[in-house]
């Protein structure tokens, strides 16, 4: 007779224990960009909603930014690195596939012998990572997990491409996930639209390009239903949601998703993240960065019910409801 394997069970519930973020120091305004390409401040503000964004320096790497955001999240949670055992770094802009970001980031933060892996779901990466982190803990595979969305998008954008150079920026956002007495992270609603894979792509393995209208159409029509599914999975109604944080792809996409949710019962006083205005589109960093900035500004409070939804290249998407720490 075959031996019987044991499978583990962890705590029944998880929550976000702390949040942190990091942005490079260098501010790049729309006027700065208008000196190197045919664009202007008014057009950028109307088209994408960005006022300014941050670019990393040449010697400032994705892993450097990830370490800073990770440390900020640990400090916010009041935890020492040694209390975390797993590090997930959602990203799509590591300069090479080998080595990954997570192992070295864990080491530099001081998480010893961490379970460590990167996760590429482009701009849906943070929500994918958060879902995985919560499930790892509830299955007993991890005790506390650090999820760090980090990107150096300026590495993969043509610096004089007037469509994309105005949008993408650099930074990192992180959350520490751990056990909880009450559920603080709802089930993830995720999926993909691989039939639309050619709408966000890289030319010559070098620079990102998008079929702008196709991506806009998809994001403004298909993402609100995913977000609503996440609300339903969490056992809530749209009117229970206090804060909406869509991936900060473009302010017009954010507004369109919020508008659709309001037609389905989300409240008029829904707080909607607009962090893209001063941060640009930072892919997997955008949602945790927005949450961190909003908490610090006081627009999101401890205990608020937050609906996050990421979406991007793949095309991939993921969202969940969380309780703000």
């Amino acid at each position: 007779m075959s031996p019987v394997l044991r499978q583990k069970q962890g705590p029944a519930a998880t929550r976000i224990l702390g949040v942190g973020s990091y942005q490079p120091d260098r501010v790049v305004t729309n006027d700065d960009l208008s000196t190197i390409m045919d664009t202007n401040d008014q057009w950028i503000r109307e088209r994408v909603g960005i006022v300014e964004r941050r670019f990393a320096e040449k010697d400032e790497l994705l892993v450097d930014m990830a370490v800073k955001a990770g440390n900020a999240a640990l400090a916010d949670a009041g935890l020492q690195p040694g209390e975390v055992d797993t590090v997930i770094v959602p990203n799509c802009t590591m300069p090479s596939p080998i080595p990954n970001a997570a192992g070295q980031v864990a080491d530099r933060i001081g998480v010893k012998a961490a379970g460590a892996f990167d996760l590429n779901a482009a701009c849906a990466g943070f929500c994918y990572g958060l879902g995985v982190a919560s499930d790892l803990i509830r299955a007993g595979s991890a005790g506390k997990v650090l999820v760090i969305g980090a990107e150096k998008l300026t590495d993969v954008v043509d610096p004089v491409d007037r469509a994309n150079a105005i949008i993408f920026a650099d930074g990192a956002g992180a959350a520490v996930v751990g056990p909880s007495d009450e559920p603080g992270i709802g089930p993830v609603s995720w999926g993909s639209a691989g039939d639309l894979v050619d709408t966000i792509y890289m030319r010559d393995h070098k620079y990102i390009f998008q079929e702008g209208q196709s991506v806009f159409r998809w994001a403004t029509t298909q993402i609100a239903p995913i977000a609503l599914k996440a609300v339903e999975l969490a056992g809530l109604e749209p009117s229970d949601i206090d804060v909406l944080i869509p991936h900060q792809a473009n302010l017009r996409i954010v507004d369109a998703i919020a508008k659709r949710l309001k037609t389905k019962g989300a409240r008029e006083d829904l707080v909607v993240a607009d962090d893209i205005r001063f941060s640009g589109n930072t892919s997997s960093a955008s949602i945790p960065m927005a949450l961190d900035h909003m908490r610090k500004a006081g627009t999101v409070k401890s205990g608020d019910v937050v609906l996050m939804v990421g979406f991007g290249a793949g095309l991939s998407y993921a969202g969940q409801v969380v309780i703000c720490p």
């Binding site: 109307e46 209208q213 806009f216 159409r217």
Partner: protein, 81 residues
Amino acid sequence: MADKQEILSGLAEIVEEVAGVAQDDVSLEKSFVDDLDIDSLSMVEIAVQAEDKFGVKIPDDELANLKTVGDAVDYVSANAK
């Protein structure tokens, strides 16, 4: 099926809602981009709302051919169920 005048006024409502253009300005000969100053993302929003309102499909490659308000009215008229 709506007649062209109904389509035009339905479209004018959508254009006003999406792009803030006064409905009276939305006349058949006007070019969306050059006369009404509507950008390519707003065109997508207009197409999505027109799809719902008129029961037509307006894929992006068809949308590219709709230069004037008249083009859009003709398209909806020819394709509405």
